[in-house]
């Protein structure tokens, strides 16, 4: 990465993932500045254009439907593999075996390594495989494409937003630094107590096991989280608390697969930010904020594709780093 503007933004986005608020960039490249100036001059005409474009655009749910299908298929695959005893995908999301090959969730593996302080070969193989898998697929892709709690939280969010619209509840934002804090707290607890305490409250693990081995009382904790999210704070667990998200976010720093933003045709009307599951990663689409003409979205992005579906101008697209240059 030789472009100094993108380099600074890359580091900025890591800080944003750790909980810092997104800020106005301190320096913008000449090319981007030109476009910003040009847009200011043709603002009115463009706004009209934007309204027409939005009126014409149909509600597209391509990526959302694909994503939900993948999420359901993956989780049902676990369940069916056990129920039908076909032994293709054994285990749960925390650790499993795909046709005999170990797959181990990165955060669970980390907890076990910190608590047990001993790493066996299978654990290394499984963790390595999953690391490479999510490195290729985008890190937090795990959250929106696989985590079963995420889907429940998405539905809870829909109810929450409906209640907000009816003015029955208001969203209570929480400091995003909390997630980094909780990641550290659970890491320290695992080291100090020698017990994987996060695993006992992880809604991902609880829901995954409930789907495979049958429901249990532990689901009450999941229910409590969902109630909190519906009536109090929008998607609070995933946004502000879950250390799994941060672990995969770190993987996403190095991932070549991400959403790419192109400044030129963007109307800056902000519909993408409204549908985004993690809106702090889309600060770059705010008028005058883009530091370059094309910008990769940061590591905390879950690659859910909601913004790609919503954008009427194709300014947000999935992109594999270096692939477009090769083709």
């Amino acid at each position: 990465m030789n472009n100094p503007y993108l380099k600074r933004r890359f580091l900025d986005q890591i800080a944003v993932m750790l909980g810092r608020e997104a800020r106005k960039p301190s320096a913008i490249s000449g090319r981007a500045q030109e476009i910003h100036v040009l847009k200011r001059a043709t603002n009115k005409a463009r706004l009209q254009e934007a309204m027409i474009a939005h009126a014409d655009a149909k509600k597209v749910h391509t990526w959302r439907n694909r994503r939900w299908a993948v999420l359901l298929v993956v989780n049902l695959f676990f369940t069916l593999s056990f129920w039908l005893d076909i032994q293709i995908l054994e285990g749960a999301l925390t650790a499993s075996r795909l046709i005999g090959f170990h797959l181990i969730d990165l955060n669970s593996a980390l907890q076990v390594m910190l608590a047990h302080k001993h790493i066996i070969v299978n654990l290394v193989i499984g963790t390595g495989t999953v690391f490479v898998l999510w490195l290729l697929l985008g890190g937090r892709t795990f959250c929106s494409w696989v985590c079963p709690y995420h889907l429940l939280a998405e539905w809870a969010e829909k109810i929450h937003l409906w209640l907000v619209k009816k003015k029955l509840v208001t969203d209570q934002p929480i400091d995003r630094r909390l997630r980094t804090g909780s990641w550290l707290v659970f890491a320290v607890l695992a080291i100090a107590t020698g017990y994987t305490v996060f695993e006992s409250i992880s809604p991902t693990g609880i829901v995954s096991r409930a789907l495979i081995y049958g429901p249990g009382l532990a689901l009450l904790w999941v229910l409590a989280l969902l109630v909190f999210e519906v009536f109090f704070s929008r998607r609070a667990w995933c946004r502000y608390a879950c250390p799994i998200g941060l672990t995969y976010g770190v993987v996403g720093i190095f991932s070549p697969l991400r959403v790419k933003y192109k400044l030129e045709n963007c109307f800056h009307e902000g519909d993408c930010r409204k549908v985004c599951l993690v809106p702090h990663v889309l600060d770059t689409v705010i008028k005058g904020r883009a530091v370059e003409t094309a910008i990769p979205i940061g590591p905390d992005c879950t690659r859910c594709g909601l913004c790609v579906d919503t954008c009427p101008t194709g300014s947000l697209t999935f992109d594999v780093k270096g692939l477009s240059r090769l083709l």
Partner: protein, 282 residues
């Protein structure tokens, strides 16, 4: 118009609002931190209730190491041919999602021959042999590799298991049918009992329901007859306190603590139980 307005007058109320918002946000952050931490602390209950001893699957590390290393994936549950392994729930007090065996309901009868649950464990919570840095409690180590009665005639008759998970103990000798010299006829544990076992004479690789396998015994020796491990339990002639001779099941050192005797005992409640995590005391 706006220039005539003193900017200082308009700003303070807005900023006070801001400050208040920020303060509320902090309070909520603290609230959520407290909530999550509080819920997390409940996860420590199994450590506090370390006295609630549940039988862990064969090859399990000592409880503290087990809790540290178990990733709660349930792969051991999936491979067990008799489904002896269950995952603990919130109220079981042994760690949400960790595996345990309720021997009275369904014991491990080693009908997989290879202790598949150990093979399935991805994190080394269940091991054939402990890594060097983990100590072995005195009396936990088996004197010799246990011989599986089912494959006694095989070239390799032993079970790959180095430590016991518990020890069987006769808890209610007064009710034991063998001691009373009584026989047993019919379905052990009744027609509705769901427990299963591998019977070599029926099918080596297909466990069947115990209720499908009725017995007719002149003298009850079910715990000895169905014990999967050679030499772990036998009927011996013992002297009662009053000096009279009588027969009684006696547990020996090869006992691995699998719990089949506890499952198969036809008396309610059972006369023989496995003490989880117990070691062999000579």
């Amino acid at each position: 118009m706006s220039e005539t307005k003193p900017p200082a007058a308009a700003k303070p109320p807005a900023s006070r609002e801001r400050i208040q918002q920020a303060r509320r946000k902090w309070l909520r952050t603290i609230l959520l931190t407290g909530g999550v931490t509080g819920a997390a602390l409940s996860g420590f209950l199994p450590l506090v209730y370390a006295r609630t001893k549940r039988l862990r699957p064969p090859g399990a590390l000592d409880e503290k190491d087990f809790l540290a290393s178990c990733i709660k994936c349930g792969q051991c549950v999936q491979v067990c041919p008799v489904q002896a392994i269950k995952l603990a729930d919130l109220v079981d007090g042994v760690g949400v999602g960790t595996p345990y065996i309720d021997a009275r309901e369904q014991a491990c009868d080693f009908s997989c021959d290879a202790v598949q649950c150990i093979l399935a464990c991805p994190t080394g919570s269940l091991v054939y042999k402990k890594p060097a840095f983990l100590g072995v409690r005195k009396g936990a180590k088996l004197a010799a590799a246990p011989i599986l009665k089912a494959k006694e005639k095989d070239p390799e008759p032993t079970l790959n298991l180095a430590e016991r998970i518990g020890v069987a103990r006769l808890t209610r000798p007064e009710a034991c049918l063998a001691i009373q010299g009584k026989g047993f006829k019919g379905q052990v544990r009744g027609a509705s009992f769901k427990g299963r076992m591998r019977y070599m004479e029926v099918d080596r690789w297909k466990p069947i329901g115990i209720s499908e396998h009725p017995y007719d015994l002149a003298e009850c020796d079910l715990c000895v007859r169905e014990c999967p491990v050679k030499g772990a339990i036998s009927i011996e002639t013992v002297f009662a306190p009053d000096g009279t001779k009588r027969k009684s099941p006696v547990v020996h050192e090869p006992c691995v603590g699998c719990g089949v005797c506890e499952m198969i005992c036809p008396v309610e409640p059972t006369c023989i139980v496995v003490d989880a995590r117990e070691v062999w005391n000579t």
